[in-house]
């Protein structure tokens, strides 16, 4: 299954809506909709630059949720949307309000890279979001200890997001050598599906990842094509074809 990352508000509002439609038509299983933020510490240059453009277009968390709502309303068969946002925009808007707006917009889940599962802030967010049926996906990293994998597996809903390698998001020449071992370690602690991201940018890499994981997350390579919906749809189709598992 392909998890396709799209940056909201990039290159502009209409362009990101067209990109959402392109990745949905292309067959993405889940859409990860990125919320632009001024200090995207987990992201590499492509997503950071796209985020800056989107911020300049007046995009933030509230605008991204509204965009998701408009897209979901227009497409009853759309794949589920998970928002990728940093913690501070959620805190600024207030957890109850974020959860309510997201539920109304039919957003299925949240991925928050700077919200550790064992933080008291995670308790507060889950208390606000879980009753409304919103899933929160926690991230596992190559450095995660067994105890942390246990905790993040237990708190994740939907799937567990495995960060393939050290460093920020973005395309890499090669997949991390330790990836199969990492995925196996994660699976020891959760029965949820496992999606792998960070550094997956080509069909060849997606095919490699699909051999060991249930989901393949592609971000920067999609964001780079957000201005050209036709090329984007073809690229997504290619990724979906290799990422399909039976």
């Amino acid at each position: 299954m392909l998890v396709a990352y799209v940056m909201a508000g990039y290159p502009d509002r209409a362009g990101s809506l067209a990109a959402l439609e392109a990745v949905a038509r292309g067959g993405a299983g889940v859409i990860e909709l990125g919320v632009p933020y001024g200090d995207a510490v987990a992201d590499g240059p492509v997503i950071v630059e796209a985020g800056k453009v989107a911020l300049g277009n007046g995009f933030g968390l509230a605008e991204t949720i509204a965009l998701a709502g408009e897209f979901m309303e227009a497409h009853s068969d759309a794949p589920p949307i998970a928002l990728m946002t940093y913690l501070n925009p959620m805190m600024r808007l207030g957890f109850p309000r974020v959860a309510a707006l997201a539920a109304e917009a039919r957003v299925s889940g949240f991925i928050v890279p700077d919200l550790p599962p064992d933080s008291p802030m995670a308790d507060r967010w889950l208390a606000a979001s879980e009753p409304l049926g919103i899933d929160t996906v926690f991230l596992a990293a190559p450095t995660s200890t067994p105890a942390r994998l246990e905790a993040l597996g237990a708190r994740s809903r939907g799937f567990v997001y495995v960060v393939s390698s050290l460093g920020v998001t973005g395309e890499r020449d090669e997949l991390a050598a330790g990836l199969p071992g990492l995925v196996a370690r994660v699976r020891e602690h959760t029965t949820l599906p496992v999606a792998v991201g960070f550094g997956v940018g080509t069909a060849e890499q997606a095919a490699e990842v699909a051999k060991i994981a249930d989901g393949v997350v592609v971000g920067s390579a999609i964001v780079r094509r957000q201005g050209e919906p036709v090329a984007l749809e073809a690229f997504v189709r290619e990724l979906v074809a290799v990422a399909a598992r039976d």
């Binding site: 950071v48 700077d114 960060v163 050290l166 460093g167």
Partner: protein, 412 residues
């Protein structure tokens, strides 16, 4: 030898809690990759705190290498010029490398070695923390890279040269405004990539737990010495203790021992000086405590200059060291609890205080420390002509010659 005791977890004032919170502030908000490394760091730090050999090694360096204790100097002409009974300057500017920053870099680099890391990275604004880290890395034979905004590289070219001379790599950061906040972000990003062999030496009481508490502990030597020197000099009464606050490490190091060791009824008024830049209403300042609201940046929850959508705002100050949109979480706690008062000082007030201290005492303070000195006339008006005030002169102003010249301090 200076007798520095690292604060331990069972001190009366025991903040932060086990998860790194000072009241609601602080905590750990970083990508998962870093979380296990922070837990390792905390464990290593706790172990070092309990090991007398660690304290002994650090104390020896603070004494023979840094030159501690730094003097508590009675500045009579400055007191007269500002209308106060007495002014004492805590001379952190006399430390090796010219600022308080080295107290912390020695502690953290010793810890890095103890953890078996051979490479350190740091962020720097004014360059003082970068120089202190590069110096300590040279001393201890560690590889060193310092992240510095391009605007700060321009403002502090002498320190850039010094770091390179000391063998450090200076990594220019062109993102954002090319200042301290951007350097922190770049250093954090790099750390996530190299977390297995690299120790991140954070220069202030900011960042995820355990950094705010650890940096405060390493800087607490400032306040501990000051309290001891007050007794040695038989200073009967101190009305106020002042320090500048950017991230807030020299202020935390000065204030924390007063809060921990001095009963509230005997405690002087503690005042932190933030950067008001071009004025609090101009939108161009670094006054997170005065004008900000709580939020998360760089891995911790604290007062923050942010927009309505939760994006960090660009800070501004004439002083690269105070040019930061956040502030250490313990200061947010101090503010809410009323333990410390925070005031904002404009660029112009700081430049005036810089000139006054230089001309009355022959001491050229850092433009950061000048923000603290600028509170003296205000305190004279508030506390009266007999008041006794201690100012932490966190660094020396050699690095600021170009800045004050640009600000119009001519010598014709």
């Amino acid at each position: 030898m200076s007798d520095v005791l690292l604060p331990s977890a069972d001190d009366a004032y025991a903040s932060p809690d086990a998860q790194g919170f000072f009241g609601p502030y602080g905590g750990t908000f970083v990508p998962e990759t870093v979380m296990p490394v922070l837990a390792e760091l905390e464990a290593a730090y706790r172990e070092a705190q309990a090991d007398p050999a660690f304290a002994e090694e650090l104390n020896l360096l603070l004494t023979d290498y840094v030159g501690r204790p730094s003097p508590l100097y009675r500045a009579d002409r400055l007191a007269e010029a500002t209308g106060l009974g007495a002014v004492y300057l805590k001379r952190e500017d006399l430390n090796h490398t010219g600022a308080h920053k080295i107290n912390n870099t020695l502690g953290q680099c010793l810890l890095a070695k103890r953890m078996g890391k051979h490479r350190v990275i740091a962020e720097t604004g004014a360059g003082q923390h970068g120089v202190a880290t590069a110096t300590t890395a040279a001393l201890m034979g560690l590889e060193c890279a310092v992240f510095m905004g391009t605007e700060d590289i321009r403002r502090q070219s002498l320190n850039v040269y010094k770091m390179r001379l000391l063998g450090a790599e200076v990594v220019p950061v062109a993102e954002g405004t090319g200042t301290l906040a951007d350097a922190v972000t770049a250093a954090l990003r790099h750390w996530v990539e190299r977390v297995e062999d690299t120790f991140y030496v954070i220069g202030s009481v900011v960042g995820p737990h355990p950094y705010p508490a650890m940096v405060r502990d390493f800087q607490a030597v400032i306040g501990t010495e000051t309290i001891a020197q007050m007794a040695e000099k038989a200073i009967p009464r101190v009305d106020a203790v002042v320090a500048c606050v950017g991230g807030g490490s020299n202020a935390a190091g000065m204030f924390f021992p007063f809060l921990r060791d001095v009963p509230a009824e005997e405690r002087p008024l503690l005042v932190g000086a933030e950067a008001a830049g071009l004025g609090l209403e101009s939108g161009k300042h670094g006054a997170a405590l005065t004008k900000g609201s709580p939020g998360v940046l760089h891995g911790f929850y604290s007062y923050l200059l942010q927009d309505d959508a939760g994006n960090p705002l660009e800070a501004y100050s004439i002083s690269a060291g105070l040019d930061y949109p956040g502030v250490g979480p313990e200061h947010s706690f101090f503010k809410d609890e009323g333990l410390v008062r925070y005031e904002a000082v404009t660029d112009q007030e700081a430049v005036d205080a810089f000139a006054l201290c230089t001309r009355t005492e022959g001491i050229i303070p850092a433009i950061e420390s000048s923000h603290a000195l600028a509170l003296l006339p205000r305190l004279a008006a508030e506390l009266g002509p007999d008041a006794v005030v201690i100012v932490n002169v966190s660094g020396r102003g050699d690095k600021d010659m170009d800045i004050v010249r640009e600000a119009g301090l001519g010598v014709d």
